[in-house]
Amino acid sequence: MIQKKNNIRDDFPIFKNHPELVYLDSTATTQKPKAVINAMTAFVSDDYATINRGIYSLSYHATQKCLAARKAVQNFINAKSEKEVVFVKGTTEAINIIANSYLNHVITDSDSILLSDMEHHANIVPWQQIVSPNQIKVCNITNSGELDWDDFKKKCQNNPKLISLTHVSNVLGTINPIKELIAYAREHTDAIIVIDGAQAVGHMAVDVQDLDCDFYCFSAHKLYGPTGIGVLYGKYELLDEMTPYQTGGDMIELVSFEQSTFTKPPAKFEAGTPAIMEIMGLHACINYISTIGFKHIQEIEYSLYEQLINEVQSLKDFTIHGESNHKAAILSFSIKDIHPHDIGTIMDQEHIAIRVGHHCAQPLMKRLAVPATARISIGCYNTSEDISKCVTALKKVVDFFK
């Protein structure tokens, strides 16, 4: 089924304001639907107040709305309790919190951690601040861009203290079989398991209890939601054990110059005035996605991806990076003798926004033996016409440099 007309597109003001725009960089960040924009505008125009601390109605209602948002996130990822939902700035902050407030306190010099060759810098660099390079084991990927199961099993033999894997690769598009990987790791290691869900939550239903991960991280801005807000999910016992991360107002019980005591999760990790407006936006984007439904989103995205894959077949010297059978609608590619940067510029002339560069995944670039790639990524607002325009432009690129 090829998506001829996509009504969802009408929900996104950016396409009204830029009718010519072919936006194929949803992996970097998604555009925002009216529903999300309006929810935030309505909140700051009508209901804005600080939360937790005010005794007046406006503040009470804002507090209740934040609680409702936390519960919406809980349902969205099927956490056991809304207390397992910590509001953070985004995926990057979430992983930094785990590194600093958890790993930092449990790791010894003889322990190792296990990452993979397809991780985003956000799932590499924070760990490097805590452990030394020789403590970081890296699971290989296969030539088709999947995690190498044999290597994973082998590296589990070290009994790593922590395993952190991306749910979906932002470059290869690979959807890792994290449920199976976690089950294996549970059986063969005592590792704490962290999942970088930045590229998953906008495209598929996530059930953290079913997955049985210990932590799960994502950003709202890749979920048709606002910038400045994301989620650290953690099992309550773990969150409770952890030390606070940032400290200040709203996360303390008692403060004196001699000693301060901290509240319980999630407040313990939410020092300072929260991103209240953004929390409303997060709630709205979850509602928005739920209304469309992942089934429909996947139908759109996969049909467009199929169209894309079919149409690029005709392009000469075109190499696709990542050919797993379980892929999100993300296509990284190279064209022989044409630098991704030049591809990007020419596409931009045709109003086609694609990403070129290392995609914050330099180790993966090294593994693929390319300095950079070009990447097309599809969101629920894209149309068949977008894909056709994109492929036409790619043909132009090839002709131009012929």
Binding site: I338, H339, H341, T345, Q349, G357, P371, F401
Partner: protein
Amino acid sequence: MSLNKLYEQMILEHNKNPRNFKKVDPCTHSSHGHNPLCGDDYVVSIRVKDGIIDDIGFEGMGCAISKASGSLMTETLIGKPIDFVLDTKDKFINLVTEDDAVNENLGKLVVFEGVKKYPVRVKCAALVWRALEDALINTSSNNNTVTTE
């Protein structure tokens, strides 16, 4: 805007067949230019003799703009005195960044004028020139790196 303003025919040709795409050996000056954003990565090596560029080459990889820039830079500068080199470097940077740049005496290098209209590509054109500047100015060390982002 027409793409041909950016990718002038001469740029496309130099991209395909870069001149002086080599390491000068022995060299008196060299520097490594790197743009971590897009992975452009070149080493510019120079042999200066009696205040004159005796030989100059560049090696590495990057986009069409950066490669053609390296090719045309080396072609333009070979055999020229250092004063001229530094002056040309300033003029070139002006050419690709300033709206009211005077482009006299730049010879073939004026083909890069169109880059100005593509601000994200300015760094590509400038990268080898930045490396050149770094190589000539930080003479003491022989293995510098400049980064543009």
